[in-house]
């Protein structure tokens, strides 16, 4: 499953938790989740917040996200 957050301007700890949860739930269904399109400002803010989004794969865009899901990476 690809979650495209290109349009998301703010990711706080609440939303971060939500994304991690989606990742865990999807794994229960034996599906992988990849979050794509994170904006640089959001990435920098998340890093500063200390949110690692562990357990969720990330990719630059949907294309690369699909590569991951298809096992190329």
């Amino acid at each position: 499953m690809i979650i495209d957050i290109t349009a998301v301007e703010i990711v706080d700890s609440f939303i971060g938790r939500m994304l991690t949860m989606i990742g865990s739930i999807s794994r229960l269904f034996d599906a992988e989740t990849v979050i794509v399109g994170m904006r640089p400002a959001v990435a920098i803010t998340l890093t500063e917040l200390g949110l690692s989004l562990s357990g969720v794969r990330t990719a630059l865009n949907a294309e690369k996200g699909l590569e991951i899901l298809n096992g190329k990476s």
Binding site: V36, P40, I44, L60
Partner: protein
């Protein structure tokens, strides 16, 4: 002391002697300016300030003081830009006191008024000093920002591989800029790999290591993997002794090694190119020799070899 009344009386006095005082004040300022500003320009500036000062003294409206301050700040800034020292600008303001004093010196009854007036002018003069130093600080801040920008390039090493050579110190301000530029470049180039070279980073302590870790974390959120290169032996020692853990981040001694690693991760390999310039019919246009010098079939090289071995009887090779 009736301060309000005092100021008003002063304001009235100034109004009545407008031309004389403004004229004298302009004269004094023009003498100081030494030709850097034209007398007419000085007269105009001085005249504007004079009107504002009268308004403030007569407490005409609430905006007068604000306007006067703004006018002075602008004057200080432009003087600073034109290369005047802050003292020169301040003395220009203080000259008004001189100009007024010359007139009131003979009359004994304006002493309290003059004192209050003098205090106001002192404040204004000091204000020009503050405005000057604020302007200089702004220039310095702009320059150091420009320097920061220039010293943080992000270069494309290969398809999908970018490099960030860091030189100098790595403090939090620099780290912010590095992260921003690195991430923006990742987005525009679509690179999968970033090599952060710290050969030029003077000291690597726990703080610097944290900055690096943050940068790598941020890049990973954009799907890029990072390698840290340029770890000199002394630096490696420091890192180990400080107990810094780079965890699962790859580290390499040189940028070259890091590039090789990145290329390998991208599924590419660097191999020497086989020499294909052999024109001999015997080899059929192909040569198994890896380089020109070891080719045995090209006429010119064969000739050279035979010529050398069979000298002086120079026989041409077949």
């Amino acid at each position: 002391m009736d301060v309000g009344g005092t100021s008003e009386r002063m304001a009235e006095y100034l109004r009545d002697h407008h031309d004389k005082v403004v004229g004298r004040w302009s004269e004094l300022v023009t003498a100081r300016v030494r030709g850097r500003t034209s007398p007419d320009e000085v007269r105009r500036e001085v005249g504007d300030l004079y009107s504002l000062i009268i308004r403030v003294l007569s407490d005409a409206d609430d905006h007068a003081l604000g306007e006067l301050r703004a006018a002075l700040d602008e004057l200080s800034r432009s003087r600073a830009r034109d290369g005047f020292t802050p003292s020169e600008t301040a003395l220009g303001v203080f000259s008004l006191k001189e100009a007024v004093y010359e007139l009131v010196a003979d009359t004994a009854d304006l002493v309290p008024e003059f004192l209050v007036f003098s205090r106001l002018i002192d404040d204004l003069g000091l204000r020009t000093f503050e405005a000057y130093s604020a302007a200089r600080e702004q220039i310095i801040s702009d320059q150091s920002n420009a320097m920061l920008e220039l010293s943080t390039p992000v270069v494309r090493l290969w398809e999908g591989i970018i490099a960030v050579p860091l030189v100098g110190t790595l403090d939090s301000a620099r780290t912010q800029l590095v992260m921003e530029k690195l991430l923006d470049t990742l987005v525009t180039t679509g690179a999968d790999h970033a090599v952060i070279d710290i050969t030029g980073v003077s000291t690597v302590d726990t703080e610097v290591a944290q900055h690096l870790l943050k940068t790598v974390s941020a890049a990973r959120l954009l799907g890029a993997e990072c390698t840290i290169s340029g770890i000199r032996p002394q630096v490696a020692q420091t890192i180990v002794s400080l107990g810094i853990e780079f965890g699962d981040i790859a580290t390499k001694a040189t940028l070259a090694d890091a590039l090789a690693l990145a290329l390998a991760k991208a599924g590419m390999k660097v191999v020497p190119q086989l020499w294909s310039g052999c024109r001999s019919s015997r080899s059929g246009g192909h040569c198994s020799s890896p380089s020109r010098s070891t080719c045995k079939t090209t006429p010119s090289s064969a000739f050279r070899r035979t010529w050398l071995t069979s000298w002086p009887s120079r026989e041409r090779a077949g």
